[in-house]
Amino acid sequence: MLKSILLNRFTLTLGAIFGAAVIWNIYVAFNNDGIVMGRVVDQMGNPVADASVSASKKTLSISKSIGLTTTDKDGRFTFEGLDEYSIVLTAKLEKRVSDSRNIRLWFKKQNTLVKSAMVLPD
């Protein structure tokens, strides 16, 4: 009887959905520190130090600044604790401003590494 309950289509389907939800929540729990890392380079591909990188929250309804950091000597920057699922990054150095980079996350506070570097024009 236990076998018939376990192999019942309701049990299998709802069990699979529940299992997928548990696995997803475990993945989220291990990856939700709100860390966003990236790199800023110039048009030649050289790292740009001391550029300020701003993070803005961008949703269907609003756009609001949520963080500001500076690149290190290797042009790398890190944000921590960003509690959003859609972030716009912009790099600035003096009068040079990069294109805005829209980062779309699968869940709030997802840790992510911006794959391609942000380019500051000359």
Binding site: R9, F10, T13, I17, T59, L60, S61, Y85, S86, R104, L105, W106, F107, K108
Partner: protein
């Protein structure tokens, strides 16, 4: 000739199925492409798929709260329907004075649309102090006359000799219902569960009237709030629609065999 006519019948059935399936396909396709509904020429096949609209829909409204409300109300409605409808259906299999009057009254009540009784229902719910509560939202759906009659027709198919034998053995009417009638009426139970779940899940008008605070809103109300707040968000809107409809579709697909069996069993007395 027989093969040819079979082919034509199947061709007609497939064409009609495609026609009925097309709106569902369009909603799902738009939820992953975000393409404009009025674009010309229309994009039949998705060129690029983007599941991010589901993330936008999830976070734009409090989907978890809406889902929890809808689910808790639906579960309560299903359980109460099972208990109340089975008891009423069993009572209607007995012969008692005024039975035909009660049956006629139930059938006549089915002809009155719910919208015509909304004002007295609202006043009653208010007097009971159940406005803006989950119980208040579930109250009109605690029993459905269609499901009562469904149970009745299934119970009528159970041999009377079985019930008499159970009475002779000393079983009470409640135990006869639980130990004999319900186990023999699994299709009716399945149909009752699925129909009451789907009706409760998709209910819009009554929750709109009873739910005053955002915490009490159900998924259909959340969908309308989403639509009224964000008009030009086709992808996210359709993604939200898919998320609202998905649970009832899954429940129906899992139990469609039982629904058909439940609706047709008892139609012929063996």
């Amino acid at each position: 000739m027989k093969t040819k006519s079979k082919f034509l019948v199947h061709l007609a059935l497939i064409s009609i199925s495609i026609l009925f399936f097309l709106p569902i396909y369009w909603v799902v396709k738009t939820s992953v492409t975000g393409s404009n509904l009025f674009a010309y020429p229309p994009e039949i096949w998705p060129k690029s798929v983007d599941f991010y609209y589901f993330v936008e829909a999830w976070y734009t409204v409090d989907f978890v709260q809406l889902f929890t409300n809808s689910l808790s109300i639906a579960v309560f409605v299903v359980i109460s329907n099972l208990i109340l409808n089975s008891m009423a259906g069993y009572a209607l299999t007995m012969n008692f004075k005024g039975k035909s009057l009660i049956l006629g009254f139930l059938l006549m009540s089915m002809m009155i649309p719910f919208q015509a009784t909304i004002i007295p229902a609202f006043l009653l719910t208010g007097k009971l102090g159940l406005l803006d509560t989950r119980l208040g939202i579930a109250l009109p759906a605690l029993s459905h006359i269609v499901s009562i009659l469904l149970f009745k027709s299934n119970f009528d198919a159970v041999p009377k000799s079985l019930i008499e034998a159970a009475r002779i053995d000393g079983l009470s009417e409640t135990r006869i219902l639980m130990k004999i009638m319900l186990p023999l009426s699994r299709p009716a139970i399945a149909t009752n569960v699925i129909l009451s779940f789907i009706w409760s899940w998709n209910e819009f008008l009554w929750p709109l009237i009873v739910a005053r605070s955002q915490d009490m809103q159900t998924l259909p109300l959340g969908l309308v709030s989403f639509l009224s707040t964000f008009e030009d968000t086709t992808g996210a809107l359709y993604a939200f629609s898919v998320m609202v409809v998905l649970p009832s579709v899954i429940v129906f697909l899992l139990a469609q065999k039982d629904i058909i069996r439940g609706l047709t069993s008892g139609a012929t007395k063996g």
